[in-house]
């Protein structure tokens, strides 16, 4: 594996494709790689409410793609379509270049798509190892293989440079918000996942904890995973992401490289669907009313 810069490069890409993970944030231009996950012309309605209009959305290996938009723009719906919780009405989803259909969360996780939800979905009364392996426990000789699970949980946390938890046998109830978020994220990468979607991972965190989680998000991408970050916090988005996809009332307003835009432009894209010459055409933006 060629190393194009001095910054850390993953030892092996977990993408499984021939694409080389981006060694550093934003060092490569958009479109120079094949997307890991490519969604085109996605439509989704709930009864009379047309939530997603012809949305195109791509996730690239080794990059953090931020998904931003105001409340009700359709971010969560899009994520749930990727996660297989909602089935799309029309459009195409390609994974590693192959068309796929997602009919349930198991389809998504079989492909290597993992979602970390805002409410984390951890069991307070179980410890870190038990939570990370919940539903996929390892069995040896008919009983739970605690040794192997503990070892794997520990090496996964170590590989993510997580150093804030005292013991992997702590119950989750004893963890702080940031530590819980860390466990939830570590759980999602334990399964050799290729795409990890993070729904508002920093929403309830303090300053220091937010920093830790963002550093973790960056490390996931550096290891070759395609990361999708949903956030309302523009500082977080610009700090950690490579690309920014903006949803405006169910349409994709723009997908831009993070280094090409300012915070003001992103905010404008979120609130009005366009900023200068990027974003929706004025007619489109006007037509997209609730």
């Amino acid at each position: 594996m060629s190393q194009t810069s001095g910054s850390p490069t993953p030892a092996s890409p977990s993408t499984g494709s021939e694409t080389t993970p981006s060694p550093t944030a934003g060092s490569q231009a958009a479109g120079s790689q094949t997307p890991l996950l490519q969604m085109t012309g996605i439509n989704k309605s709930f009864g009379p409410v047309h939530v997603l209009h012809d949305v195109d959305f791509s996730v690239y290996p080794g990059q953090v793609t931020a998904l931003v938009g105001d409340n009700g723009a359709g971010k969560t719906t899009l994520v749930k379509c990727v996660a297989g919780i909602y089935t799309i009405d029309s459009g195409e989803i390609r994974f590693d270049g192959n068309p796929v259909s997602l009919h349930g969360p198991r389809d998504a996780s079989a492909l290597g798509i993992e979602v970390v939800y805002q409410d984390l979905a951890l069991c307070d009364n179980l410890d870190i190892v038990q939570n990370m392996f919940l539903g996929r426990e390892e069995i040896a000789r008919g009983v739970l293989d605690e040794s192997d699970m503990e070892r794997r949980a520990r090496s996964t946390l170590a590989s993510l440079s997580v150093r804030t938890v005292k013991s992997v046998r702590q119950v989750v109830a004893s963890l702080s918000g940031g530590q819980r978020q860390t466990v939830a994220i570590a759980k999602s990468v334990l399964w050799n996942s290729k795409v990890v979607l993070l729904d508002e991972p920093t929403a309830a965190l303090g300053v220091a904890q937010t920093e830790q989680v963002l550093a973790l998000v960056r490390r996931l991408a550096d290891a070759g995973i395609g990361v999708v970050l949903i956030s309302h916090n523009m500082n977080d988005v610009l700090q950690v992401s490579d690309r920014i996809a903006t949803l405006y009332l169910g349409r994709l307003a723009a997908e831009v490289m993070a280094k090409d835009v300012t915070q003001a432009q992103v905010v404008e894209l979120i609130t009005s669907g366009r900023s200068g010459n990027i974003g929706l055409q004025p007619s489109e933006a006007a037509a997209t009313t609730i």
């Binding site: 030892a11 977990s14 069991c123 170590a158 440079s161 046998r169 050799n192 550093a215 490390r219 290891a223």
Partner: protein, 494 residues
């Protein structure tokens, strides 16, 4: 949360790459740099003690209050009555606690989900009645119940089989199906063992259908089991007839469960196997896990704990092996059969809860049902299974009660039976809010619950009102400990 990590944390260990986790047989990542290199838990006894005190102060009290309660009550009764610590009374206490412990052990599963089974007591009566009828009417349940009732019972059990197979609970299907075949074709129902099996199968069927109403239909368990609490009393009257009773005192196996004693020699064999097995298991586990660099209990602690248990067990066994008969011509010695039975069930359910997937899922569903659902756990399946276990264990409690009384009255399992069992589980440390509890809670709590009427009964001139009032106070104290430890846990972020 410390501030040592953050941006500069993407150091060499990040370059180890994430996919380490995907190669289980691969080399270990270099943990020396990660903080988990030290994660083998407390290494010395002192560290462990400090850790434990911290946990208790943080609200994780475990079985501590129940054990303290046991000691305090024991001391009070010992001082108040010289007969309390007598061998005969010790055996009595064990026998008295049996029914409560069995029902409470099943209830632990239901409580772990955050549900309740108010019908476990009366269901235990129904199951015991099935056993009693089978064994006293030469196994002909059709004549014993009358054809219509007999058909209803069969239909009920078949419905349970259907429900269990819908949830792919094959153990329940198997247990109930054998029961149906036995009842329908009079196979082995006249034998005592067959009758005991029928009672358990009936319990599993009852629990399966209760669980179905809760988990699939969606009726709150409080309401379902409140209705069934009333319903089973009616069923029991239908089976036995108002005011009458089925006498089972003449059947040696059934009678022996609560009233028979393990021969002293076999008591020691059982003791050696049990205590030796326990110490060997925990010592090997501690050494092996430490060798593998995993979190392990300190060996000293394991040995001390094993030693304490061995001493307590040996003293209890030596006492119970003495002749405690008031009549020297008819010696009574040995451990009542119900005690090894309780211990075997405790070990079995502890194993199920801690070492297999099902147990893990029970805790997960009780801790956060939504998280469990997202992890791919089928909630209704776990819930129905827990209710089936609850009622199955209730059946065993009913059998123990029938054995102790020598008969099954038409109000068997009514009154306070269920409430004492719930109290036992809660006193032992099982939370009513779900997600916290162990099989041993039922044993410790059950002994506390049995000790109160036992001890008070030995005191002269004590009004019977005191019995209820003191039980109430003990329960309230236990519930307060639970609530306070939760608040404490929330306040300390545990």
């Amino acid at each position: 949360m410390t501030t040592e990590q953050s941006s500069e944390a993407s150091d060499s260990s990040a370059t180890a790459g994430l996919p380490v986790s995907s190669s289980p047989a691969g080399p270990e990542p270099d943990l020396a740099e990660g903080d988990f290199a030290r994660d083998s838990g407390a290494t010395s006894l002192r560290d462990y003690a400090v850790d434990y005190i911290q946990r208790v102060r943080g609200g994780e009290v475990g079985a501590l209050p129940a054990i303290l309660g046991l000691i305090v009550l024991g001391l009070i009764f010992t001082i108040a009555s010289d007969r309390f610590l007598s061998v005969a009374n010790l055996a009595n206490l064990v026998q008295q606690s049996g029914i409560t412990v069995f029902i409470a052990m099943g209830l632990v599963f239901v409580l772990l989900l955050g549900e309740i089974d108010l019908a476990a007591g009366t269901a235990s009566g129904v199951c015991a009645a099935i056993m009693g009828l089978a064994v006293t009417k030469q196994g002909d349940l059709r004549t014993a119940l009358g054809t219509p009732t007999w058909l209803v019972v069969l239909l009920f059990m078949v419905a349970a089989i259907v429900v269990a197979s819908l949830s792919r609970l094959w153990y329940a299907v198997g247990i109930v199906a054998i029961g149906v075949v036995m009842i329908a074709f009079h196979l082995g129902t006249s034998t005592q063992v067959g009758a005991i099996y029928l009672a358990i199968a009936t319990g599993v069927a009852i629990g399966t259908l209760t669980g179905f109403l809760v988990a699939r239909v969606g009726i709150p368990s409080f309401v379902v089991t409140l209705a069934l609490f009333l319903g089973w009393q009616g069923v029991l009257l239908q089976f036995i007839g108002n005011g009458s009773a089925i006498s089972v005192g003449n059947y040696n196996i059934i009678n022996g469960i609560s009233n028979g004693n393990l021969p002293p020699v076999w008591g020691w064999v059982f003791y050696v196997v049990l205590v030796g097995g326990y110490i060997a298991f925990t010592v090997v586990r501690s050494i092996r896990r430490r060798a593998e660099g995993l979190s392990a209990e300190p060996l000293v602690l394991v040995l001390i704990r094993g030693g304490i248990l061995a001493v307590i067990g040996a003293v209890a066994l030596a006492l119970l092996n003495q002749d405690r008969s008031p009549n020297p011509n008819f010696p009574i010695a040995g451990v009542p059969y119900v005690l090894p039975l309780i211990l075997l069930f405790m070990i079995f359910w502890t194993f199920i809860l801690n070492r297999v997937r099902f147990g893990r899922y029970v805790y997960a569903v009780g801790g956060n049902a939504e998280a469990a659902r997202r992890a791919g756990i089928e909630l209704s399946r776990i819930r129905i299974a827990c209710f089936a276990i609850g009622s199955g264990m209730a059946a065993i409690g009913g059998i123990a009660q029938a054995s102790r009384l020598g008969s099954i009255p038409s109000d068997a399992g009514g009154g306070n039976t269920l409430l004492y069992a719930v109290a036992a589980a809660v006193i032992g440390g099982t939370s009513l809010f779900g997600g916290r509890g162990r099989a041993r809670d039922a044993v410790i709590g059950g002994i506390v619950i049995a000790m109160i009427p036992n001890g008070l009964g030995l005191l002269p001139n004590l009004p019977s009102s005191a019995n209820f009032i003191i039980t109430a106070i003990v329960l309230l104290v236990a519930a307060s400990v639970d609530a306070l430890s939760r608040r404490r846990a929330a306040a300390t972020g545990r």
